[in-house]
């Protein structure tokens, strides 16, 4: 493997943070439903990415986005698995999130909340497919499941989202 200088690795890391930082942090926020945890998870995602940057830079990894999202999702899962998290009520954070300069529409808030409320595996596929715009095969690779399973999960997620939004 070609050894990369610290400067090259750092440049790559900064590029990844600029390119994917916002979407990783928002995905963590939807996943964890907690702003401060999502901040930690997003930072940890890039720290882990840095530790394995050589794989990406040497071309071993074909899709940097899929690779990064896999790290992000695994980091979020680790956080959820922590013993502390099992006893925490994380029903909603959206009202406590920092306001943007743009007004928010009610239907978009409702849809975001509906995604937040999905069961974990359905949330995985929804975030990867709809939010990160990965194709189904890549989603399946990231989640380590078969393509038909990914399709089934996606259909279930769509059904759940429809039910949630209709009930709302």
């Amino acid at each position: 493997m070609v050894p990369y200088t610290e400067e090259e690795r750092e440049q790559m890391l900064v590029f990844l943070m600029n390119e994917y930082g916002d979407s990783v942090k928002r995905m963590c926020c939807v996943y964890l439903r907690d702003l401060s945890l999502s901040e930690d998870a997003a930072q940890e995602t890039f720290i882990k990415a840095y530790n394995h940057l050589d794989q990406l830079m040497s071309g071993e990894i074909r899709s940097e986005k899929a690779w990064l999202m896999r790290i992000a999702i695994n980091t979020c899962k680790d956080t959820l698995r922590s013993s502390w998290m099992r006893h925490v009520d994380r029903r909603q954070v959206i009202d406590t999130l920092p306001l943007s300069c743009m007004p928010r529409h009610e239907e978009n808030l409702a849809l975001t909340q509906a995604v937040m409320a999905l069961p974990q595996k359905l949330k995985d596929i929804t975030l990867l497919y709809y939010y990160q715009d990965l194709n189904l095969r890549t989603c399946a690779q990231v989640l380590n499941i078969s393509a038909p399973t990914a399709t089934r999960w996606l259909q279930q997620a769509q059904k759940k989202l429809r039910q949630y939004l209709d009930a709302d």
């Binding site: 930082g21 942090k25 401060s36 930690d40 930072q43 840095y50 999130l97 928010r104 808030l109």
Partner: protein, 330 residues
């Protein structure tokens, strides 16, 4: 790729205030640089536990050390300051060494002075300035906007000079470079982004407080040039002033007053009164689509220290003045 981007738009809009900001970037880069090894970011909720463990560890290490030092003092040992960079560093390493013969007075040894460094402090600063101007974005902050200090030290038997530049605005921006005293080469420097991306607004800072004392408690009520300069120093330039061809803040205010009237009447604006509107021009970098927009806060009455409860936000494009949205603020 899938065509239905409603979920993406919904999440991006709902969570548009959630951004991987300068603080996050800095935390990752600092973790990367810290002692050459990666640390995990601190989870806020485990800090108490970490504090308890750290306190216990400190107690285990310090108590015997203090006892040993006291004993050494009684024995007439000397306290010696070691470390080539000692004069420049606050974290001096103090060790107790038994003296060959007891001496009544405990005095720190003078720090070994660098022996005839061929590179003067001025030269080192000049070299680091050139490095800073080469690798950092000087359109954000210039060299003159940093306080500069230099400290000599030793590395691998060779003399080095470490130059530190810290922002005079107390915003956390910092650039450090180490220069070889032997040949004047820059051995390493800190991440350029850390020099130009403000990490925080330190509300305790006298510098920051003076801005609020001068202009008022709410950024939106400040003159446009003050908003832009404050934003440049502390927020990465998210706000700016209008350029040629763009509508001015006064025009934006007028447009927003007209646009917000109906909404504010329902929120208590008297029929004969005009809304009090306060424009802020968000730069291209602040929006997802690269378009500069005014966000105008409109109230039924002028803003004092306490904000009125009813507020209407008007968003309009800076280039055309086209009103994009009028909505009651949450």
């Amino acid at each position: 790729m899938n065509n239905d981007n409603r979920i993406r738009s919904a999440i991006d809009e709902s969570l548009s205030g959630v951004r991987f900001n300068a603080h996050d970037t800095r935390s990752v880069l600092e973790a990367m640089h810290s002692s050459g090894q990666i640390r995990r970011p601190a989870h806020r909720r485990s800090r108490l536990l970490r504090f308890a463990v750290s306190a216990a560890a400190v107690a285990v290490i310090l108590v015997p050390a203090v006892l040993f030092t006291m004993r050494a003092h009684q024995d007439g040992s000397r306290v010696t300051v070691i470390g080539g960079e000692a004069t420049a560093r606050p974290d001096l390493i103090v060790t107790a060494q038994p003296a060959a013969t007891p001496t009544p007075l405990i005095t720190p040894d003078p720090t070994p002075a660098p022996t005839a460094a061929p590179l003067s402090e001025d030269d080192a600063i000049r070299i680091v300035r050139a490095c800073f101007e080469r690798v950092c974005d000087t359109s954000v902050f210039t060299f003159e906007e940093y306080a500069v200090s230099a400290a000599y030290g030793e590395e691998g038997g060779a003399q080095i000079c470490t130059v530190t530049m810290e922002s005079i605005y107390d915003n956390g921006c910092r650039f450090t470079a180490t220069v070889s005293c032997t040949d004047g080469s820059v051995l390493r420097h800190s991440t350029p982004r850390l020099a130009t991306i403000p990490a925080y607004v330190n509300s305790e800072s006298a510098e920051v407080r003076s801005w609020y004392e001068k202009n008022g408690a709410h950024l939106m009520t400040w003159p446009q040039d003050q908003q832009a300069e404050f934003s440049r120093r502390y927020e990465g330039g998210m706000l700016r002033t209008a350029r040629d061809g763009e509508i001015t803040a006064d025009q934006a205010k007028q447009i927003a007053q007209d646009a917000s009237q109906d909404a504010l009447r329902t929120l208590g604006l008297p029929a004969d009164a005009a809304p009090a509107c306060y424009p802020m021009l968000y730069a291209e970098a602040a929006s997802g689509d690269g378009i500069a927009r005014y966000t105008v806060h409109c109230y039924a009455e002028p803003v004092s220290d306490a904000l009125p409860s009813a507020c209407v936000l008007v968003t309009l494009r800076a280039d055309s003045g086209e009103v994009e949205s009028v909505a009651a603020a949450e």
